[in-house]
């Protein structure tokens, strides 16, 4: 008998339904694993009392019958989600001590469905990063390792990926602005989906780049992702960009039948210097989909190479505006002022002390590209290129492509600290395969495919049509079954 915390969401749901397991016992198992996993740095605020209260309520609801899928399921919640009365810091010192007086729409939906919150999960500060190293709490650690080096779980949802991979929760929430769900999912050998922009409400999620941010599930299987996505999705009057569309039954879409579907392989993603191992994995994934009855075709996304520079104009521009609210007046940190300091000094000192280096860098880049004289040259040009990037995808879909297959990341997980000496642009290259779909608003899922020669997980990414997460997850389900990835990290923590 496996420990209850190692169950998938689907299996835990079924066991709770049948009465083979109580939500309280399942929660206890997760809390024990959480406390034993401190070396992973995944949890940054634990909420055991709240979890047990929620679990007891879930047990009562399960007993009464007709409880939703999420009832009694223990989850980890990324620190970017505002949770009422529980620290919600976006891993930043500038929000030290902030306890929201309200609940994000996503966590409200999850709690209404009976889900249990174990605690808040580590991340890069304000979701800006690809390694979890910009967190004010210190980095989360990847449970996978091949020698005595500690590896990055990826970022920004690194704590979420680490906690799911190490079974410190049943599933977790993440958010994805340029790859922050998919890259850590790939680094840690789990499934992560970024839904279509507008599918999940952003209300109560601390904003980074509002036109790109989207929350999604990080899970142990594709089925789990389908279940959790269904529970997170839906229109919200409090988010004007949330789409007023019915939420389909994503789990029911997992038929495993993709016969006659057309899979696009974007030739622009064959970057010079792409690791042979990643190239081979990509080919293997295409073969698996073909063996399942899909047709694999070459496609062109001519503006793909401009996605990264466009992203690093648009995201910092929006961040510089969103993060203007951290002024030391309404919440969080305020710097100690010297004699004669006025309000400007208060702002400047507060923001210098509260924001970490990468966040400061992005705010300043954003400030620069939006400043008088440069707005057209950088910001408007980037928005035009963004329109072209979206058009590339629309043309591919119009030609009959159902899903696009690509690597998730250019490499497996790297060591913590290894990228510290790299210049910021080198770190940004981690997002090369993932940012394009944030710019186009499209859904994308990372599926764990196997281990590299050293023994680290590698993922492949599938990109779908807007609002077709069900069909996209069905393709992912086919890949998952064909890859048969069942390895777990050896427990060293």
């Amino acid at each position: 008998m496996t420990n209850a915390n190692e169950l998938t969401l689907a299996d835990a749901r079924d066991a709770l339904r049948k009465g083979d397991l109580s939500a309280t016992d399942l929660t206890m198992a997760c809390l024990t694993a959480m406390d034993a996993g401190d070396a992973l740095g995944a949890y940054v605020h634990k909420t055991p009392e709240m979890a047990l209260d929620q679990a007891r309520a879930a047990d009562a609801r399960l007993k009464a019958g007709g409880a939703p899928d999420l009832c009694g399921i223990p989850l980890g919640i990324k620190d970017l989600f505002c949770t009422k009365g529980v620290p919600s810091q976006a891993a930043s010192n500038i929000l030290k001590g902030f306890r929201p007086e309200y609940e994000s729409t996503v966590t409200t939906k999850l709690f209404d469905a009976g889900a249990v919150m174990l605690g808040k999960l580590n991340m890069d500060e304000f979701a800006m990063g690809s390694s979890n190293e910009s967190s004010c709490y210190g980095p989360a650690v990847n449970p996978w390792r091949v020698d005595d080096r500690e590896l990055s779980p990826g970022g920004s949802s690194g704590g979420s990926a680490s906690a799911v991979a190490a079974d410190l929760c049943i599933a977790a929430t993440g958010t994805d602005t340029g790859g922050s769900i998919r890259q850590p999912a790939a680094f840690c050998g789990i499934v992560g989906i970024k839904p279509t922009y507008g599918r999940v409400s952003r209300w109560g999620i601390i904003a980074y780049a509002s036109s790109l941010d989207q929350a999604g599930p990080m899970t142990k299987s594709v089925r789990d992702a389908a279940i959790l996505l269904g529970a997170m999705s839906g229109h919200d009057p409090k988010d004007s960009t949330s789409a007023d569309l019915a939420v389909p039954d994503f789990e029911a879409a997992l038929t495993g039948d993709i016969r006659g579907k057309k899979i696009g392989i974007p030739r622009e993603y064959r970057l010079p210097g792409l690791r042979p191992e990643i190239e081979a994995l990509w080919q293997k994934g295409a073969d698996m989909l073909r063996d399942a009855g899909a047709e694999v075709v070459d496609i062109s996304l001519p503006h793909a190479k401009y996605a990264l520079p466009a992203y690093y104009v648009i995201a910092p521009a929006e961040a510089s505006s969103n993060l203007a609210r951290y002024d030391g007046v309404r919440y969080g940190h305020r710097a100690k002022l010297g004699a004669g300091d006025g309000i400007t000094e208060m702002y400047e000192k507060t923001r210098a002390e509260g924001f970490g280096a990468e966040v400061q860098r992005r705010i300043m880049i954003g400030t620069y590209v939006l400043s008088a004289g440069f707005y057209d040259a950088y910001y408007n040009r980037a928005r035009k290129v963004r329109a072209l990037i979206k058009r590339d995808f629309e043309q591919a879909f119009a030609a009959g492509v159902d899903a696009i297959l690509a690597p998730t990341t250019p490499s497996p997980a790297f060591g913590l600290g290894e990228m510290q000496s790299a210049n910021p642009v080198e770190m940004y290259l981690n997002d090369v395969f993932t940012v394009t779909l944030n710019l186009a608003g499209l859904p994308g899922v990372s599926v764990p495919m196997g281990l590299d020669r050293e023994g680290l997980p590698l993922g492949l990414q599938l990109i779908g049509r807007p609002w077709e997460e069900g069909d996209l997850l069905n393709h992912a389900y086919v890949l998952e079954r064909a890859a048969g990835f069942v390895e777990k990290p050896r427990k060293w923590w």
């Binding site: 001590g97 902030f98 306890r99 929201p100 007086e101 922009y197 507008g198 009057p237 004007s240 960009t241 789409a243 503006h303 401009y306 990264l308 520079p309 466009a310 690093y312 104009v313 510089s320 203007a324 002024d327 309404r330 919440y331 969080g332 305020r334 002022l337 006025g342 309000i343 000094e345 208060m346 702002y347 400047e348 000192k349 923001r351 210098a352 400061q360 860098r361 705010i363 300043m364 880049i365 400030t367 620069y368 590209v369 400043s371 950088y378 040009r381 980037a382 928005r383 035009k384 290129v385 963004r386 329109a387 072209l388 979206k390 210049n423 910021p424 642009v425 710019l439 608003g441 807007p466």
Partner: protein
């Protein structure tokens, strides 16, 4: 576009982030490096392309212009570093 120390100082000021004088050259270098990376965008022919305003074509919803919440002063002020007599308190702004 290379950013000099003077521009870096101005950007930091606009962003309301205090940067020590001794850190400005390094900041200027970092910003220049990132902006250099963005120069690639100049290779793209964007003639006749409208800048994207919304990634999913949708009409913003309308609702009746009525008050839907309020009377939560205490909650609004709860996280303030300095709140007095029902207000946010800040250093003197007007002499």
């Amino acid at each position: 576009m290379s950013i000099d120390v003077e521009t870096a100082r101005r950007v930091a000021k606009l962003a309301r982030i205090q940067v020590d004088e001794s850190d400005l050259p390094a900041l200027a270098g970092e910003l220049s490096n990132i902006l250099g990376f963005m120069e690639q965008l100049n290779e793209v022919d964007v003639t006749g392309v409208e800048p994207m305003t919304s990634v999913t074509p949708m009409r913003l919803k309308r609702r009746a212009d009525v008050v839907t919440d309020g009377n939560i002063q205490e909650l609004v002020l709860k996280n303030a570093p300095d709140a007095r007599e029902g207000f946010f308190a800040v250093p003197k702004v007007v002499e």
